[in-house]
């Protein structure tokens, strides 16, 4: 018995290494995975065609035929939410990937090279932080019109400066460590330093930051769609679904509630997941 326990405690299990998730984090992860799967296969699960008018009664209640009721034209809300997952999750994921990849790469380069490149880039991107995010989106959409590529690029541009700032601050700390100095003394070039020395050591916090930024992007995207400037009809993401059916709010129609609930479950579960990431991933310095 004793040998068995000591043998078990010697095994490098995730718990021992500090990589295991607690309960809240697991629930968060589960909800995130659920929406990720829905975004991919959701339209196949939809009971009706999301664009088709299936009920002659608008703002219909929840019934056996229409699980989440019908919208202002009598379209099935469940099908529209399943389809909307693809827009909300897809656009936000694409934007956050571009924003974080760009921000992290620029941040690492700025931290390693330093000098005037670092100074000018930091000042410039800090200035862009002086524009409120929703306003940035409004102005761009007003100027070029709304389409999905425009939305992705705008949202990425809004959150790139923040990702840059975060990654640069982390990289500057790693950059002063002995192993980087040793690598420099060995004569390694800048790309090697960035890819092999800096990047692996900032990866954990950068991933946590990516989650936080994903939530921000979902919120701004929903806000833009809610103002009628995001995804354009007949397509609709969750923010646009709320906008379409806002008239039903005064009598509490399910058509306006469930898209909001969908947004909330996604953002809250990402926040739950990020807040409960194992210490090892969140912060490598400890």
């Amino acid at each position: 018995m004793t040998t068995r326990t000591s043998f078990l405690s010697a095994l490098p299990t995730p718990r021992k290494l500090g990589y295991s998730f607690n309960m809240t984090g697991r629930i968060g992860l589960l909800v995130i995975l659920f929406w990720a799967v829905v975004a991919v296969i959701g339209p196949m699960l939809a009971p009706y065609n999301p664009g088709e008018i299936v009920d002659w009664d608008y703002f219909g209640p929840m019934t056996g035929d229409f699980w989440l009721g019908t919208d202002y034209l009598g379209r099935d809300i469940l099908s529209r939410i399943l389809m909307g997952a693809r827009y909300t999750v897809g656009i936000a994921l694409a934007a956050v990937t571009i924003a974080c990849a760009g921000g992290v790469i620029l941040g690492m380069i700025a931290a390693v090279t330093g000098g005037w490149f670092d100074m000018i880039l930091s000042r410039l991107l800090d200035a862009f932080n002086g524009i409120p995010s929703l306003l940035f989106g409004l102005v761009t959409v007003a100027a070029v019109g709304s389409s999905i590529p425009v939305l992705v690029l705008t949202l990425a541009a809004i959150y790139l400066p923040g990702a840059y700032r975060f990654a640069r601050a982390l990289s500057v700390n790693v950059n002063t460590m002995d192993f980087v100095t040793v690598a420099r003394a060995r004569g390694e070039n800048t790309p090697y330093l960035i890819v092999r020395e800096i990047f692996p050591n900032i990866l954990g916090p950068v991933l946590a930051d990516l989650g936080v930024r994903f939530v921000f992007i979902v919120l701004v995207l929903s806000g833009l769609s809610f103002l009628g400037l995001g995804v354009q009809p007949p397509n609709a993401d969750w923010g646009a679904l709320v906008r379409e059916n806002i008239e039903g709010l005064s009598f509490g129609a399910p058509a306006v509630l469930f898209p909001s609930v969908a947004i909330a479950t996604l953002t809250i579960s990402v926040n739950m997941f990020i807040d409960n990431l194992p210490i090892k991933i969140r912060d490598r310095s400890e």
């Binding site: 000042r123 306003l135 009598f251 947004i263």
Partner: protein, 318 residues
Amino acid sequence: MRQALKPWFLVLQRLGIAFLTLIIVSFAVFFATELLPGDVAEVLLGQAATPEAVAALRESMGLDEPALSRFLGWLVGLAGGDLGTSYVNRMSVAELIGGRLGNSLQLAGIVTLVSVPVALTLGIGAAMWRGSRFDRAVSVLTISVISVPEFMVATLAVLIFAVWLDWLPALSFGVNADGFWAMLRAYAMPVITLSFVVSAQMIRMTRAAVIETINTPYVEMALLKGASRSRMVLRHALPNALGPIANAVALSLSYLVGGVIIVETIFNYPGVAKLMVDAVSTRDLPLIQSCAMIFCVSYLSLITLADMVAILSNPRLR
């Protein structure tokens, strides 16, 4: 003497950065709206866009000048209070905004008056009884409000106060509300929504600021001395947390800028944000530019104010 001047030097430096940022921001706003959407004169004339008419209109609007000189002209006009003329109804932009700005400021002012005392009480209370049931309830509530879009907070507020409790009107805003009670009812919904959004941020930051000072050795000393919990927090920790708290208040008020856009739209409130959203749908560029600048300036001044408070309240910089 030189030591005493140091924080003021930092404040000046911060103001300089803010000014520089403002220039870059106005540059971005101008070029995003002015250069991208194609020929304004052609859009304006619509059906009547003969080449001669377009050329004449371009000349009268000054559109044939180089972009950089138009940008400088716009900037100078902006600084002198000349905001240009609306493309859509030919009214002066300053006039259009003038009537609305007061409404928006009034809304922001009431929200500030409501949310600051509530948020500070809850934030300090949560820090004082850290880990208690009260603290956890406040944390769950604030995280939920921060995690959802502003329009959802508004939706929930309408659902609870107008649909279920039937206390307040739902989505209409009575402009000619006469009498104190009618005014109160009309303002209640937008104010409740915005206060929730702003307070949530403020509570979190205040709680963090107070907890940070509670974790210092001199507060631990007060605890070991046998001071009560409330004395420890209110007498020993709070005076030193005032700087960070003021910083948190200014920073959270900057969330008003984004929130007000959504809230004015959903409740049909006649403010600058509603004006701007309407201008976006009619692509009225001079109006969008001016509104955008108003929002950027208020956002920037709140952020800069937060930084300056942080600098001036930090005794280590003195």
